[in-house]
């Protein structure tokens, strides 16, 4: 027989009250867990889409007055005739603090060439990096494996009439078409892609690049920080993050997140009120019992401990049950907020589970503090006169 035994026994006897307290906390905890998990999964979903998007940092030479667009987004100034970044300078990117977050680095040289009487834009690229930077590419044929092959954008192929396996002469260099891009609706449709070194020779820009793309998209990548780090090592370049695409949606999620916190706080507040009112009722119902405890020599602190132990036990159960209920609710609701990604990714997070468990106990005990003090202040003689 200890104070713990008394607390457990009382909870067993007054099941309805215990369940009421449990329900109050459980609803609050599961709502918080559900909303936090939902927001997190929505962020994960966007990050996943970002990763699918490919490059998210562009490096272009600094310019004063020329504009250039890429993928429908303004990328600042760049020109074919202006000074280029030297290829070896890109090596410095490997020295930045967040170098491990760089998934791919794609240098690109751009220049105008003539194919079959048509002026087209040639892009010299590193095809290994490009496959990471442009995950949406569907190539009919093969990616070039040597310096004498090229890939044509769908529009270039249509206009020039060139097909897979055709030979084409560009500035005295004979190249074979090994791949044709399927229509992507992007600027790539109008480009000729050649290996970087080949394009540099054709365009007369050995060791020079027009721009570079960096894929650093992952859920934990500090993009703005990386942009600054790259800018520091490449002072002659304009380094920009492509965030416009997702910025709007991120803002929406941010608003939803704030809304979630407000709703969570309100639900928790109501849950705590339920605990408070129920525990006050319980103390009033147990006036005589508390009088008996005090007559037997229980100190005020003993009475407080019994009440808080009861609240703590219920709150601990609510914390565990609420965590799983919240996760379950997220699983059910997630398809309504995302396009399916992340449904299987909802997993147990020990840190969050621990935090929820502790927070639930703190809230349960916090809400029971006043009833516990009220119980301890009962005059034992008055309590026994209530017999």
């Amino acid at each position: 027989m200890t104070l713990k035994t008394i607390a457990f026994s009382n909870l067993r006897r007054r099941k309805a009250r215990a369940i009421f307290v449990l329900a109050g906390l459980l609803i609050g905890v599961s709502t918080v867990v559900g909303l936090i998990s939902l927001v997190q999964e929505m962020k994960n979903d966007i990050n996943h889409k970002l990763e699918m998007y490919g490059a998210n940092i562009l490096i272009v030479p600094k310019t004063e007055n020329l504009s250039f667009t890429y993928g429908g987004m303004s990328l600042g100034g760049v020109s074919f005739d202006m000074k280029e970044i030297r290829q070896e300078e890109l090596e410095k990117i490997k020295t930045i603090k967040n170098a491990t977050n760089v998934a791919a680095l794609g240098p690109m040289v751009l220049g105008q060439v003539t194919i079959g009487g048509h002026r087209v834009l040639m892009a010299g690229v590193d095809f290994t990096a490009t496959q990471i930077l442009r995950p949406w590419w569907n190539v009919k044929g093969k990616i070039p494996v040597n310096g004498e092959s090229i890939i044509l954008g769908a529009e270039v192929s249509r206009v020039s009439g060139l097909k897979l396996g055709d030979k084409v002469k560009i500035k005295d260099k004979e190249l074979s078409v090994t791949g044709i891009l399927e229509t992507a609706g992007s600027q790539d449709d109008g480009l000729v892609f050649a290996p970087l070194s080949t394009a540099q020779i054709i365009l007369g820009q050995r060791n020079r690049i027009s721009m570079a793309e960096v894929a650093a998209l992952c859920s934990g990548c500090p993009i703005p920080e990386m942009v600054k780090q790259i800018s520091d090592v490449l002072p002659n370049a304009n380094v920009m993050a492509i965030q416009q695409v997702v910025k709007g949606r991120m803002e929406t999620i941010s608003h939803f997140q704030k809304f979630s916190y407000v709703v969570s706080a309100l639900v928790l507040f109501v849950g705590c009120l339920m605990v408070l009112v129920t525990m006050i009722g319980s103390v009033r119902e147990r006036t005589v019992e508390i009088g008996i405890f005090r007559a037997m020599g229980f100190r005020k602190s003993h009475v407080i401990r019994i009440i808080l132990l009861e609240a703590g036990i219920v709150a601990a159960v609510a914390g565990i049950a609420g965590y799983f209920a919240g996760l379950g609710a997220t699983r059910l609701l997630l398809p309504l907020f995302t396009e399916g990604h992340g449904l299987g990714a909802i997993s147990l997070d020990p840190v969050m589970a621990g935090a929820v468990f502790i927070a639930s106990i703190i809230l349960g005990i916090g809400a029971s503090l006043y009833p516990a003090l009220m119980a301890s202040r009962l005059d034992p003689n008055e309590a026994l006169r209530a017999l």
């Binding site: 027989m1 200890t2 035994t5 006897r13 008996i292 005090r294 007559a295 037997m296 100190r299 017999l387």
Partner: protein, 227 residues
């Protein structure tokens, strides 16, 4: 030792014209091992005096000393410790906790004492045996008779071996035969050296005590030897 010394105890309830004096200038001394019965009509202040003796009810004026220690000069926690060590209460309505077994009810005063679970259970089993209820440790209060419940209440009062037992009408809810058995049990405990102070309406049971204290309107009428 544990002698009890009340000096000019006064207890008033209410204020102004509504003031009621429940205990009016009572002084008495009870020696260790005495069996005292407090008698009087309803409202004469018997239960108030008993609760003051138990350290539960602060006097409006006067002093209450046990072994020379002024109980009401102690802090709340110190007074709780005094009750834990020195007083065993037996209530008229038994006041067993219905959700605890008999053994658990008896062990309640030990819940705040730092001894092993085994020793607590042994003490409770021993106390139940002393009141004639061996083998019923796992029953719930609603599974035994009123007389047995009173015995359990007495077992709970003696489990931590206090030197003083205060019983407020311990036979009030019992039939004559069962009441006599309870009084016999209290007499036995008194013979073992425990100071027993009871409040009762019954002359018959009061005469089990060696000393009678009569109250009238909160005043001590006399303190006579019962035998």
């Amino acid at each position: 030792m544990n002698y009890i010394d009340a000096k000019n105890l006064v207890k008033q309830y209410g204020t102004g014209e509504a003031t009621v004096t429940a205990v009016n200038d009572i002084s008495l001394r009870i020696d260790p091992g005495e069996f005292v019965a407090i008698m009087g009509e309803s409202g004469s202040g018997k239960s108030t005096l008993l609760s003051m003796m138990g350290g539960l009810n602060s006097p409006t004026s006067g002093r209450f000393l046990v072994d020379g220690v002024d109980v009401y000069a102690l802090s709340s926690d110190e007074r709780a410790d005094f009750r834990k060590k020195s007083i065993g209460f037996v209530f008229q309505s038994f006041h067993l906790l219905p959700y605890l077994t008999l053994a658990e009810n008896v062990m309640l005063p030990l819940a705040i004492i730092d001894i092993s679970k085994k020793k607590k259970l042994a003490a409770a089993t021993d106390a139940l045996a002393r009141v004639g209820l061996p083998g019923k440790v796992n029953r719930l209060p609603n599974q035994i008779s009123g007389g047995e419940q009173e015995r359990v209440a007495i077992a709970r009062a003696i489990v931590n071996r206090p030197p003083i037992i205060l019983a407020d009408e311990p036979t009030g809810n019992l039939d004559r035969r069962t009441g006599a058995e309870v009084m016999k049990l209290l007499t036995t405990l008194n013979h073992e050296g425990i100071t027993v102070i009871i409040v009762t309406h019954s002359n018959e049971y009061a005469h089990c005590a060696r000393r009678l204290i009569r109250l009238l309107d909160g005043r001590l009428v006399n303190g006579e030897l019962a035998m």
